[in-house]
């Protein structure tokens, strides 16, 4: 199980956040978040204890815990084997480990050709 890197913004497992979360650094959530998460150029990791009920807009999203809400990722989404995701996913690339649970639509969009 991957642990958060030091220096990473973290929401610990005893923390509950309700509202809009936005930022310009990677975020690790192992607690509860309800609302919306916007990290346009950065990544969100939902840790094994994380329980997120939010729409997520980020560059990359890694889920090890529970996420309820739509995911919009400009780069990639990774669902680890312990992930439980309910919501639609729109991303360029997706990886799903055996055992992950997903309920929702998956939309893979191609990278913009310049």
């Amino acid at each position: 199980m991957s642990a958060p890197a030091s220096g990473l913004a973290q929401i610990g497992k005893s923390v509950v956040v309700k509202g809009e979360l936005s930022g310009s650094e990677d975020l690790y959530v192992d607690g509860q978040v309800e609302g919306s998460i916007a990290l346009k150029a950065n990544s969100l990791t939902v840790g094994p204890n994380g329980q997120v009920k939010a729409s997520v807009d980020a560059k990359g999203v890694v889920v090890q815990g529970k996420l309820e809400g739509n995911i919009q990722a400009s780069d990639r989404v990774e669902l680890r084997k312990s992930a439980i995701v309910t919501g639609d996913i729109s991303t360029q690339r997706i990886s799903i480990e055996e055992g992950a649970y997903l309920k929702g639509k998956v939309d893979i969009h191609r990278a913009d050709v310049k």
Binding site: L79, K81, S82, I94, S95, I96, E97, E98, G99, A100, Y101, L102, K103, G104, K105, V106, D107, I108
Partner: protein
């Protein structure tokens, strides 16, 4: 004890803790599927189809369909049916699953939304109280002319036939892997915490007449008998 409570006891029995069953417990098998081959002709010749996969979440299947420009929805109904909150009692006091609650939480899509539904072996493992309501809902979310693929065990398969997850690896080829539930602590109906230790159990064996009855609202039904004691059924709404 009713089949529902037996099944739940099986799911929740065991020691506490949160760990995963070793990977080697699941064995990969490859099989050809005539039903899938026939469906493939549809998704090879049409654009932007809407496909619903009711098996275990599969990265292969998502890649397969999105790579062809189709939209895929994933919904693992068998896992959803193990929600302890679905347990209720019927008029005779038997423990059953609440099909209304199940359909309020699952398979919630607009009418005539999907071009194809992949049921895999869901009807054989789904609790009796959910089978007909689920097939009824699938009829309504399929477009007229839309197709549904389901697999049914024959009696020769035996009662201990394992439940598999299905990965599409080619136009008519599937990779099957036995489903081993992860050891997940859950609070059961009595409030006690239990841990899942086993896969899903075959609930029944449908004969051809049962299958025809199950899909009687559909326009047509086609059977493909495979060598591995599986009947593949392709129905058209």
């Amino acid at each position: 004890m009713s089949s529902v409570s037996q099944n739940f006891m099986k799911l929740f029995r065991g020691s506490s803790g949160s760990e995963t069953v070793p990977e080697q417990a699941s064995q990969k098998l490859t099989r050809r599927s005539s039903g899938l081959g026939e469906l493939s002709r549809t998704w090879d010749s049409a654009d932007a189809l809407c496909v619903l996969d009711l098996g275990s979440t599969s990265a292969n299947n998502i890649r397969f369909f999105t790579g062809k420009g189709h939209r895929i929805y994933s919904e693992d109904l068998l896992t959803a049916s193990t929600d302890p909150e679905l347990l209720t009692k019927d008029e005779q006091g038997n423990v059953v699953l609440d099909s209304r609650k199940f359909l309020a939480d699952n398979l919630v899509y607009p009418a005539a939304h999907f071009d194809a539904v992949l049921c895999w072996n869901l009807p054989d493992y789904l609790d009796e109280s959910l089978v007909k309501p689920v097939v009824g809902r699938l009829w309504s979310v399929l477009k007229p002319g839309g197709m549904l693929l389901a697999f049914f065990h024959t009696r020769d398969a035996g009662p201990d036939s394992p439940c598999h997850r299905f990965h599409i690896v080619g136009g008519d080829t599937l990779e099957m892997k036995k489903i081993v539930l992860r050891r997940e602590a859950r609070r059961g109906p009595t409030g006690a915490v239990h841990t899942a230790i086993d896969g899903f159990q075959l609930q029944r064996v449908f004969n051809n007449r049962h299958i025809e009855n199950l899909f009687r609202d559909f326009a047509s039904i086609k059977f493909f008998l495979a060598r591995d004691n599986i009947r593949e059924v392709l129905v058209v709404r």
